[in-house]
């Protein structure tokens, strides 16, 4: 019935989306190169090894965004009458799980290496025929991997609110997790060089606890969205006011006595119902209901579909 419904975004947001896609492809390419570099310089340092696996996990939100949003843009079909918008929610969940996995795993690794008596040794490294302290190329590799994470993370944080994309936001958090973990590793490498081997697991533990906290926050939002909680802002800074605004608009219509709106977050867009108590003897009700739905959709591109239902009694909130 809505097979001709346009894709996910209006034209101005579509541009932001294109930018985000480019950014995510750059992220994937860059993480792949960083993982390769780390793999090649990886010594016995605990932190260096975890950095490598961490890179592998950190590519998940970027891939989830690319796949999820692509699927979400498919139009509705007889088999998928509500469209594919929820693919974004699934991508969000995947990104949240990747963050949790990363934090939890790094924390476990740090604790296990500490309690099993492992201590990193950083000796020499053959750099183009010269024997240099292996810490230097490690630090260089870490800077190479951390700096782009900072830049990419910032750029994603700027785009995420514009297209109301929680996956992009989760990915920005992953970028932050990335560079924070790299910094912890760098502290560990320098600490080891000073003979303070315990700095390596300690820094890793502190940072991984922070990543885990971020991951649990994201996971909570992702799960709540799938349970159709009222829509929350992409940056988790509070609830969206859009349902209230639509409600207010409906109440302002002269043929509406009272109205109640409920919406669920389908990724970028909202789908919901409006229950309206109408004045008695409204003429031409079907046309008025359709008009109300159209007005709501005109308020914001995120109101994707609003079924306006005349009732004699409003449902409980």
């Amino acid at each position: 019935m809505r097979a001709h419904e346009p894709a996910e975004f209006p034209p101005e947001v579509e541009q932001v989306y294109r930018k985000a896609v480019r950014l995510e492809w750059i992220t994937v390419a860059y993480i792949a190169s960083a993982a390769t570099l780390l793999y090649l310089t990886m010594g016995s340092s605990q932190a260096m090894r975890t950095s490598f696996y961490e890179d592998v996990i950190s590519v998940v939100p970027a891939l989830a965004f690319l796949v999820g949003t692509r699927v979400a843009r498919r139009s509705a079909s007889p088999d998928f009458p509500y469209g594919h918008h929820r693919a974004t929610s699934i991508a969000h969940l995947a990104a949240a799980l990747a963050l949790c996995l990363m934090g939890g795993w790094l924390l476990t690794e740090a604790a296990m290496s500490y309690f099993s008596g492992e201590r990193a040794t950083i000796g020499g490294f053959n750099l183009f025929g010269n024997m240099v302290w292996a810490g230097w190329p490690m630090l260089a590799a870490l800077v190479y991997t951390a700096v782009p994470s900072v830049i990419l993370g910032r750029m994603k944080l700027k785009l995420a609110p514009k297209m109301h994309d929680k996956v992009l936001f989760a990915d920005a958090r992953m970028m932050k997790a990335d560079w924070m973990a790299e910094s912890a590793t760098a502290v560990g490498v320098v600490g080891t060089g000073f003979g303070l081997w315990w700095l390596d697991p300690l820094a890793a533990a502190l940072v991984s606890a922070d990543i885990l906290k971020d991951g649990i926050g994201t996971l909570k939002t992702a799960v709540a969205d799938l349970i159709d909680r009222r829509p929350e802002r992409a940056d988790e800074s509070g609830f969206e006011q859009l349902p209230h605004e639509v409600e207010r608009m409906l109440r302002g219509l002269d043929w509406v006595e009272d109205a109640r709106v409920r919406m669920r977050d389908e990724g970028h867009i909202f789908i919901g119902e409006a229950f309206v108590m109408t004045a008695p003897d409204v003429a031409d009700l079907p046309a008025k209901l359709e008009d109300a739905s159209a007005r709501a959709k005109a308020m914001n591109w995120r109101v994707h579909e609003l079924v306006v239902m005349p009732v004699t009694r409003l449902p409980d909130a």
Binding site: G117, A120, T121, N126, W133, G195
Partner: protein
Amino acid sequence: MRTAPLMLFLCAVLAGCGEFPRDAESTLEQVEAGRPLRVGWSVAEPWVRRGADGGPAGLEPDLVRRWAAARGVRVNWVEAGEAQIVEGLSDNAIDLGLAGFTDVAPWGALVGQTQPYISAKAVIGARPGVRAPDDWNGVSVAYDPRRPGLAALIRARKAVPDLNAPDFRAAYEPELGALGLVSTGTTLATERHAIATPPSENALTFALDRFLHRHRDAIERRLGQEARR
């Protein structure tokens, strides 16, 4: 990225002080000040073998002797099993471990180790004039009985380890000349050998790394001489 300038500053400071990297337990400092270097050794032919006097001989003990002499360090040799050596290193009860360790040893970060001082190719050599088969399946290949690891490598190729095989012999590539063999072009394995150190003794490990790196050509020649025994 508030940490970046901090790190750069830290690096600059570090580059400024001479004693870097440092040992967690000051092993290098102590042995250079006169405490003997406790070296655990375990026979692992051809890297470590028992000399005529019953003491350690071969490639790795010679390397440690030369390094210690250059640094004016006395050496106490401790014969022990490989597991004991690993435990001793992990507890800082010994200072170096020689047992034919490679970079794929399963000890993780319980011990440290130097960079690989040699990348030794175990190959199959042939008597001059003998043609190497296309397929080693069922072919008899000789090996030195003191190196049981080679028998396993031969078997992995579906060839038959046979101490008296006349035509083919497994050995490390630098040994072929001394054994009067020519390469068949078949590589059984590439082993990257290292000397084990206590964990986080970074100065000690780095000092050895620099020494081993300077002598890497001599080490390869030295492996060739092992075959002449």
